[in-house]
Structures are given as structure tokens and as C-alpha cells.
Amino acid sequence: MSDTTVNRFENEAITTTERSQWALITRRFFRHRMAVVSLVLFVLIVLFAFVGPWVWTWDHRLHPDQLPSTSTGPSLAHPFGTDASGRDMLGAMMKATQQSLLVALVVAVGSTFLGAVVGAVAGYFRGAVDSILMRVVDVLFVIPFLVIAAAIAGSIDGGSKWYHMAFILAAFGWLSTARAVRAEVLSLREKEFIEAARAVGGSSGHIVFKHLIPNTMSVIIVSATLQIAFAILSETTLSFLGLGIQPPDTSLGLLIQDAGSAAAFNDEWYLFYIPGVMVILIALTINFVGDGLRDAMDPRQTMVRR
């Protein structure tokens, strides 16, 4: 070993400290500018939805005795305006965003987790386990989603709440994730590093959670971001059919629904565009955060390396 290599090693010794895998992932995530901006924006939306109602004077309910009986445009007293039935739209937006976020996040987390585990287990064990799990998925796939959702939602006393919606949507959302993850795992399980983990004495659980799922992360994150869009849209659809979240509770889908499509082109534009833009903002920020996470977790992404 020459003197120069020794020096180089010593120089590096000053700069590299030991980091855990999570520290490395976080560091890489924070180098992804769009992801960080989106994360900040998303946190602001979350604060708006969950802290806002405590701060703002008006809530999402109707107050026909205190508010004008026609819709009024944005003003200082009502930044997002009011609607014809006497509702302060800022208060309504806070509640609606909160409900939609709850549904979307619970669906995304629940269905992604379930889908990833079922897919990985089916792909890893193959044979009978795989056949049974995948037939269950097939059967659920052919059941018309709206019929089941309607049946479940309709039988809930007192109208469905956000957690009912989340449960119904998650019960169907995991299917596509499970299929995608299984396909990925089928090819991964033949890789030598899986055999290496087995040779070391790793249990099946260890292999599934430490090797297979981390290596399918890109597939999982992509399907999780799609799940969120799916959840918000399906929740809107169900609310439109009168099977989703019921008034006086509200959601972004319901607000858009209340505004009616004609509102987009007349004086009541704010009733339509404000919740609409919020849906887009949520979907976009989550997409960028998902992108950032996927890149941060894939060590082969060199884009943001120094």
C-alpha cells in the first residue's frame, strides 16, 4: 500500500461516520427538492385539516340563522365564501379535507400493508399458499366493487363515517398491490441473496420482511400513491351515490358534489375550485413524496448523490 492510498483512507476517515440504513435513506430523501417541498406542503395541509377547526370560528355545519341565504364570494370574514345553505366554506373545507385525508391515508396504509404482505407471502412460499391466496384475490376482483360497497355502506346505522369508508375501500384496494408485489417477489425469490439469507439461518419471516419487501419497495410505493388517488375518487363516487360520508359530515368529494358541475363556470366558482384544487394538491404532494421515498430507498439511484 503506497503512501497516497494511506492518506486517502485517512482523509475519508474524517468525513465518513457510521450511519444506520434509515439515516442514509432520510439523508437521500432530503436531497430530493420536489419531495421536500411537497412534504412541507402536505404537512401544511394536514395542519389545516386537523388544527384549523380548533382555530377558525366557523365549523362545517349549516348556520342559516347567522349567515346569508345566498352564496357570497370570498371576503375577509369568510375567506372561502359561504354557500346558499348558510355554510362557511373555510370551516367546511377544513372538515372535508380532514375526512378525505383520513380515508385516503388509512386506505393507503392498510391496503398497501395487507397487499404487500399477502403478495410477498404468496410469492415466497408458492405452492398451496400461493394458490389459495391468489384465488381469494381473483374472487374478490370479480365481485363488482360498487355493489359490495353499497351493501356494506347501506347497512350501517346512522350513515357511514370515515372509518367505514376507509374499511370498505381498503378491503378492495389491496388486491392490485398483492398481485404486483407477488409478481415481483416471484422473480426475487430465485436470487442468490435470498438463498444467502437462508444459508445464514434466517427464518421465512426474516426473509420476507428484511429482503423481499424492501426490494419491492418501488412497486409498493407506486401502488400506495395510486391507492390514495383511488381512495379519494371512490369516496367521492360513493358520496355522490349517497352511500359515502353523509351530511352534516362532509368530504372533499361531497363539497364538489354540492357545488355541482355548473358552478365551475358561474359566480359560485369558489365552491367548486377550492375543494377541487385541494384534491389535486393532496394527490400531487403525495405523488412527489412517494417519488422521493422511492428514490431514497433505492441505493442505485445516483441522481442525487454528491
Binding site: 442514509l24 438463498e195 442505485r300
Partner: protein, 347 residues
């Protein structure tokens, strides 16, 4: 545990031994029923013994069952029949949970150092994994991983890097460090250098030799490169189509290979002296290895054997009908599975 450690290993008693190992992979028909319509005879009755601090090389061409034999000895795949003896126990009869503590003693180094390292783990995590699996990480695991990285000659400052950031030789060192993490007694080396450049092979081979001296390891060295084998091995077993055709110490085998297949392999070793290289006898084998799902009767090598062609019809009949067993009652010093074995000086 202590009793196991204290038992002195004499050179005579092997650390690990395989007896009559057979592995057949079923060939199934298409369709729903998937009847078994045949079997690939990957390993057919292989017996091996590896002593303490000893290197046994397993040599043969691609697809002859070398890697399968190594995995059978590790109990990574279940043999169709036969047994693996380690510390007086038959590994093939143990349950998964009984096998776990023994996994610590027998470790595997893979051929392809890229495929055998999880691309999503840092070097540190890869080497720490065996320790975590066996619950040994909490007691000074961090320090242990650091020293392992140094032992295999990597820069400890690179522990946060991912496998794709290393060269082939460095990756193989990572694989070796992982295999050493549990302080094994036996290391199965599955063609550990065949994916590496020749210049880097030497470094890894020397590392393996140093480690063996320092840690008293036993190696099963699977390879198809006889020059490397001659350098590192104490004993050599030559495999052809799932069977051992010849075995002996490295000296015995290289001074006078008696089986025609070994002779053919030896005649292909490049010699550094061009004059000798030009003058030597070359044995060229023609044709492909027969399908392991339908191996030839009698001697499995007879379809490509250069000696077989020179035999009379009666002599040939013996090769076709009677399976030759390993025997040492021929002129050479090795044990060869050939009815007409005769040693030949080739290298």
C-alpha cells in the same frame, strides 16, 4: 455447546461428511395435474469427507452437480437419500429449528458476488445480518462487523456503501466477511473466484488461505479451474454427471490422474512454458454432457470417453453394463471409478 467445542478434532475423523448423497429433481408434466414424468439425477451417490483445517476441492464441468453437492452438505436442499454427518448428527434428519444453531458452523460463499448481496443493504448491514439473525449483534456486534471488514481487506470507512459501489473482488470479500461473521468451522466455497478477473482471483485465494491458517477453517472448494484447485486444495474429488469419478490428495491426483475424464481435464490446464505447452498431449472431449435426466448405463462417461473408443468390444460391454466403483487397486495412487484406470503423467 462447550462439549462440542472441547472435542478435539483429530485429522482422521472428518468434520463433516456426506454419505451416499442422492438428489433428484422431479420433472413434471404440464397442465394441472403435473404428474412426475421423470427426474434429473443431479447428484447420484456422492460420499465426501472434509477434515479439520483441510480443503477438499470438488471439480467438474458445468452442470455436473458440484453446487448441488455443496448445498446438500449444508442441508440447504433436502437430499432424496443419503446422510450428512456433522458432529455425530445426521443433518438431513434435523428440523428447521434444530438446524438453526448448526447453520452458524457451516457457511456458504457464493459464485456471483453481485447476486448474493442484497442490493438494498449497506455493507455494514449485510455483514451484520448473520449476527442479527442469531441474536449476537447486541454483544459487540458493531465492533465485530468492523473487524470483519478489516480482516477481509476492505476499507472500514466503506461500511455505509452499497454492493453496487464495489468492484467484483471487493464484493466477493464482502461475501466472505458475511460467511465469517458467525465464526464457522466449515466454509462451502461455491466457485468463489470464477466470476472474478484472474488478477483479482489471486487476492481472494490468498485471503482464503490466510483465513484458513488463522481460523482453522475447513473448506469445500467447488471449482472448475484446476490451476486454482492445485494451489489451494489438500484433497480433490472430480465429479462427472452427479458422480465422483476420481479422488485423491492433490499430489496424487496431479502426479498421475487415472480416470480418463480427469486426464482430459488435466490436459487442458494451460502450462506457463510454451515449449512444454506445444509438446504436450492434448485430450479433447467431443460431444455434450449427456442429459442428467437420462444418464448412460454403466459408466456415465463412456459416451465421451477417449479410452472407451480404443477398447475391444468385450471390454466396451463391461463399461456399458457394469457401473464402475471408486477403487484404488490400479497402478496409480488415486481412487478412480473406471474399469480400465491407468495413471498418466500430464502436468
Amino acid at each position: 455447546m462447550n462439549a462440542m467445542l472441547d472435542t478435539p478434532q483429530s485429522a482422521a475423523s472428518p468434520v463433516i461428511a456426506g454419505k451416499n448423497l442422492v438428489k433428484e429433481f422431479p420433472v413434471r408434466s404440464k397442465g394441472i395435474v403435473r404428474r412426475k414424468i421423470g427426474a434429473i439425477h443431479a447428484v447420484s451417490g456422492v460420499s465426501l469427507e472434509i477434515g479439520a483445517n483441510e480443503t477438499l476441492a470438488l471439480v467438474g464441468e458445468s452442470g455436473c452437480g458440484k453446487s448441488t453437492t455443496a448445498r446438500l452438505l449444508m442441508n440447504l436442499i433436502e437430499p432424496t437419500s443419503g446422510e450428512v454427518l456433522y458432529e455425530g448428527r445426521d443433518l438431513t434428519k434435523l428440523s428447521r429449528s434444530q438446524m438453526r444453531p448448526i447453520r452458524r458452523d457451516i457457511q456458504l460463499v457464493f459464485q456471483d458476488p453481485m447476486a448474493s448481496l442484497d442490493p438494498r443493504m449497506t455493507v455494514f448491514e449485510i455483514i451484520a445480518e448473520p449476527l442479527r439473525v442469531h441474536g449476537l449483534f447486541k454483544n459487540g456486534g458493531r465492533q465485530k462487523v468492523r473487524s470483519l471488514i478489516e480482516i477481509v481487506g476492505l476499507n472500514p470507512e466503506h461500511r455505509n456503501r452499497y454492493p453496487h459501489e464495489f468492484s467484483g473482488g471487493q464484493r466477493q470479500r464482502i461475501g466472505i466477511a458475511r460467511a465469517l461473521a458467525l465464526e464457522p468451522k466449515v466454509l462451502m466455497l461455491d466457485e468463489p473466484v470464477s466470476a472474478l478477473d484472474v488478477s483479482i482471483q489471486a487476492g481472494v485465494i490468498n485471503l482464503l488461505e490466510d483465513l484458513q491458517d488463522e481460523l482453522g477453517l475447513s473448506y469445500l472448494f467447488v471449482s472448475h479451474d484446476l490451476s486454482v484447485v492445485r494451489h489451494i486444495a489438500d484433497k480433490v474429488a472430480v465429479m462427472y454427471l452427479g458422480k465422483i469419478v476420481e479422488e485423491g490428495t492433490t499430489d496424487e491426483l496431479f502426479s498421475g490422474p487415472a480416470h480418463p475424464y480427469t486426464q482430459a481435464l488435466m490436459s487442458a490446464i494451460p502450462l506457463p512454458d510454451p515449449r512444454k505447452e506445444r509438446a504436450r498431449e492434448r485430450i479433447v472431449l467431443y460431444g455434450d454432457v449427456p442429459s442428467p435426466s437420462n444418464p448412460p448405463s454403466g459408466c456415465r462417461f463412456r459416451t465421451r470417453c477417449q479410452l472407451f473408443q480404443t477398447l475391444s468390444e468385450e471390454e466396451q460391454a463391461k463399461c456399458i453394463e457394469i457401473e464402475p466403483l471408486l477403487r484404488s487397486d490400479h497402478a496409480g495412487r488415486t481412487r478412480a471409478a473406471c474399469h480400465y484406470a491407468e495413471p498418466k503423467q500430464l502436468v
